[in-house]
Amino acid sequence: MKNGPLFILGLFAALAISFGGIVLGSHHQLGTLAPYFDDNEAQSYPLRPAGVAARGQLVYADLGCASCHTQQVRRPDAGSDKARGWGDRQSVARDYIHQARPQLGVARFGPDLTNYGKRAGKSADEATAALDAFLYNGSANHPSYKFLYETGKVSGERAARALKAGTGGTKPDEQIVPTERAQTLVAYLLGLGTSYDYPESLPFIAPVAKNATGEPKK
C-alpha cells in the first residue's frame, strides 16, 4: 500500500458502495411505497395516526420505551409472536409509512406493543383509566412514570381523567391528573394496532400436495 491517494480512494469506495447498496438500494425498493387502497371499503390503509397519537410517539421515543419494547411482529412460524397474541400476521414495511420515526426496537425485555391498542381493554375509557393507573403506579416488572402525572387540590369537581381517589396515598381533596405528555402517550399506545391485512402481509400457506386423483396426499 504505497499509493496513498489510491488507499484513501479505496476507503471512500468501501463506504460509498455499502451506503449505496444497503441504504440507497432499500430506499429505491421501498422509498415510494404507497398506501394500499381498498376498493370495497373505498379507504386507503394504513390509516394516518391521529395528531395526538403522533405526538405521543415523540413521548414514547424520548422516554426510551424502545429499549425494552419492540413494535414488530414476526411471521406466525417464527418464534411465539402469534401464540403470545402479539399479532396474527407479520409486520410489513407498509404498516410504518405514516410514522415519522418508527419504534421497531431491538430488545424484548417487555412484551411487543405492535397491537397493544387492540388488546388493551373493553371500552376506550376503561383502557385509558387502566393504562393511566399502570403508568403511574408501575409494577414489579415495569417502572412507574410518576413525573408524567400531577398531584393537585380538587377545585370543585374531580377532573374527568383523574386517577382513582386514594391512588398514591392522596388525600380525599387531592387528585392526580395526567399531564399533556401522559395524555398523548396513552392515546398513542391505545392507538397501536395494525388495522388492515395487506396482500403482502398475509401468512404464506404452503399448497397442499395432491396425488393423481386430486385428493390431498395423506
Binding site: I8, L15, S18, S26, L30, D62, D95, P143, F147
Partner: protein
C-alpha cells in the same frame, strides 16, 4: 497473572512522544473520565433492569434514557477519545516526524467533549433520537462531525507527510478510522435525522450506521493499537504479515454489509438479512487473519500483553458467535434477547476496550515520559477488569439463554420470564460495579502519572527560564 511493569526505556522515548504529550494526554484523560461516567450510568441502568423502581421518579434517568446515556458515553466518550489518542500517536511514530497541527487536536478535543456533554444532557432531557448507537440529539451531530475532523487533521498530516515508503498495518487501520468516521457520521445523520428515509427503512439505515460504527471505526481504532503494540512487546515480526492486507480490506469492504443481521424477520426487504449472512461469512476471514497475525501475544508478558490476550480472544470470539447468530434459524431464538446484549458487551468491553487498554498501557508511559505512578493500581485494574468483563458477559449470556428459551415457549407468562431473569441480572449489576471500581483505579493511576509528568515539565521549564533571567540580569 504476573505483573511486569511496562519498561519505557528512555532511549525509546523520542521527541515525537514528548512533543505530543499535552494533546494526547488530554485525549486519554477525557476518554478515561467518560469511561468512569459511563460506568456509573451502566450501574444505574443495570440495577434498573432488576428493580425498575430505581431512579424511576427521576425523569432524567428513565430506563430507556439511562441505557442510551451509558451507550453514548461509552462509545463517543471513552472509545472515541482513547482510540483517537492511539491512532494519532501511532501515525506520528510510524510517520517518522513529530505530529503537526496539534493545536487543532486540542481545539477539536475540547469541542468533541463539549459536544458529547451537551448531547448527554440532551438525551437526559428528552432529545434522544432512539436509533441504537446514534442516540445523540440532532443538534450536536454537526458539531461532532467537525470536531472529529479537526482532531483527525494532525493524523492525516502525519500520514501524508510520512517519511517511509509504504505503510504498516497499524497505519492502515488508524487512517481508516480517522478518515471514514466523519463520512459515516455525516451520511448516517443525513438519512436518519435531517432527511429521514421513510418508515421501516430507518431501521435499515440505522443498522448500516451501527455496523459501520463497529466495523469501520471502533474495530479499526482498537486494531491499530494492537497491530502496533504486538510486535513491540513480542520483539518479533507479526506472524503471516503478508495476509494482513486481506484482513484489512475484508473488514473495510464487507464489514458494514453485515448490519442487517438484527433485522431478521423484520418489516424490511428479506435480502437485507440475507446479504448480512453472506457478508458475515466473508468477514470470518478478517477475524481469522487478525487471530493469526496477533497470536504472538500469547507468549508475551507484561500489562499490555495481558490486555491484548483478552482483547484478541474476545474480538475473535465475538466474530464467530455473531456469525452463528446471523443465521435465520438461530436468530429467531436469540433476536431481542440479552444474548445480543452479551455479544455487544463482549465486543465493546472484551474486544475494543481491552485492546484500547493494551494500547494505553504501552503508550501513556512513553508520552508522559515516566512509568505508571502506582504499579499496584495497574495490577488491580487488570484483575478487576478481567473479572468484571467475564462475569458480565457470562451473566448476560445466561440471562439471554433463559430468556430465549422462555420467549419461545408461549405458555410461560411474561412476568415469569422477567422473574427468571432477575438473578442473572443481579449478577450483571455486580459485574458493572466491579468494572466501575476497576476503571476508577485506572483513572487515579493515570491522573497521578500525567500530573507528575506535567509538573516535572513545568518545573524544568520554570527553572530554565529563571536561570535565563538570572543570566540576563
Amino acid at each position: 497473572m504476573t505483573n511486569a511493569p511496562t519498561q519505557a526505556a528512555s532511549a525509546e522515548v523520542t521527541a515525537i512522544d514528548s512533543q505530543a504529550r499535552g494533546p494526547l494526554l488530554l485525549l486519554v484523560g477525557s476518554g478515561l473520565v467518560w469511561l468512569v461516567i459511563s460506568g456509573i450510568l451502566a450501574l444505574i441502568s443495570s440495577i434498573q433492569l432488576h428493580s425498575p423502581a430505581f431512579f424511576a421518579d427521576c425523569s432524567w434517568l428513565t430506563a430507556g434514557r439511562a441505557s442510551a446515556l451509558r451507550e453514548t458515553a461509552f462509545i463517543y466518550g471513552w472509545a472515541a477519545n482513547a482510540g483517537l489518542a492511539t491512532a494519532l500517536w501511532i501515525l506520528g511514530r510510524l510517520g517518522g516526524s513529530p505530529l503537526r497541527g496539534l493545536n487543532w487536536t486540542v481545539v477539536g478535543t475540547l469541542f468533541w467533549n463539549t459536544g458529547i456533554a451537551l448531547g448527554l444532557v440532551g438525551i437526559a432531557t428528552g432529545d434522544m433520537t432512539s436509533f441504537s448507537l446514534l442516540q445523540l440529539p440532532r443538534y450536536v451531530q454537526p458539531l461532532l462531525a467537525f470536531a472529529y475532523a479537526t482532531v483527525a487533521i494532525s493524523g492525516v498530516l502525519a500520514w501524508s507527510g510520512r517519511r517511509t515508503d509504504g505503510a504498516f498495518a497499524s497505519q492502515w487501520y488508524a487512517v481508516a478510522a480517522l478518515f471514514i468516521f466523519p463520512w459515516l457520521l455525516v451520511a448516517g445523520q443525513a438519512v436518519l435525522l435531517w432527511m429521514p428515509v421513510r418508515g421501516a427503512l430507518q431501521a435499515v439505515a440505522a443498522g448500516w450506521y451501527g455496523q459501520g460504527v463497529w466495523s469501520l471505526w471502533l474495530a479499526p481504532l482498537a486494531l491499530a493499537g494492537a497491530y502496533y503494540v504486538t510486535p513491540k512487546i513480542t520483539s518479533r515480526a507479526l506472524a503471516a504479515y503478508e495476509s494482513a492486507p486481506l484482513g484489512f480490506w475484508t473488514l473495510i469492504f464487507v464489514g458494514s454489509w453485515t448490519g442487517g443481521r438484527h433485522l431478521v424477520g423484520g418489516p424490511v426487504p428479506v435480502w437485507i438479512s440475507t446479504v448480512a449472512v453472506v457478508a458475515y461469512g466473508l468477514l470470518i476471514f478478517h477475524y481469522l487473519v487478525v487471530a493469526i497475525n496477533l497470536r504472538g501475544v500469547f507468549g508475551a508478558s507484561g500489562d499490555s500483553a495481558g490486555f491484548l490476550r483478552w482483547g484478541l480472544l474476545s474480538y475473535v470470539l465475538v466474530g464467530v458467535l455473531e456469525f452463528i447468530t446471523t443465521f435465520r434459524a438461530v436468530a429467531v431464538g436469540t433476536q431481542f434477547t440479552f444474548l445480543n446484549t452479551a455479544l455487544e458487551q463482549l465486543g465493546l468491553y472484551g474486544g475494543v476496550t481491552m485492546l484500547l487498554f493494551a494500547s494505553l498501557y504501552y503508550m501513556v508511559p512513553r508520552i508522559a515520559g515516566r512509568e505508571w505512578a502506582v504499579p499496584a493500581l495497574t495490577t488491580g485494574h487488570r484483575f478487576l477488569v478481567v473479572l468484571g468483563v467475564v462475569v458480565l458477559v457470562a451473566s448476560l449470556a445466561f440471562a439471554g439463554w433463559t430468556q430465549a428459551a422462555d420467549l419461545a415457549n408461549a405458555s410461560v407468562a411474561y412476568s415469569d420470564i422477567v422473574a427468571h431473569l432477575r438473578p442473572a441480572l443481579l449478577v450483571a449489576a455486580a459485574a458493572q460495579l466491579v468494572l466501575l471500581a476497576a476503571n476508577l483505579l485506572l483513572l487515579v493511576n493515570f491522573l497521578t502519572t500525567a500530573g507528575a509528568s506535567c509538573c516535572a515539565a513545568w518545573c524544568s521549564q520554570s527553572s530554565q527560564s529563571s536561570k535565563l533571567e538570572a543570566h540576563a540580569s
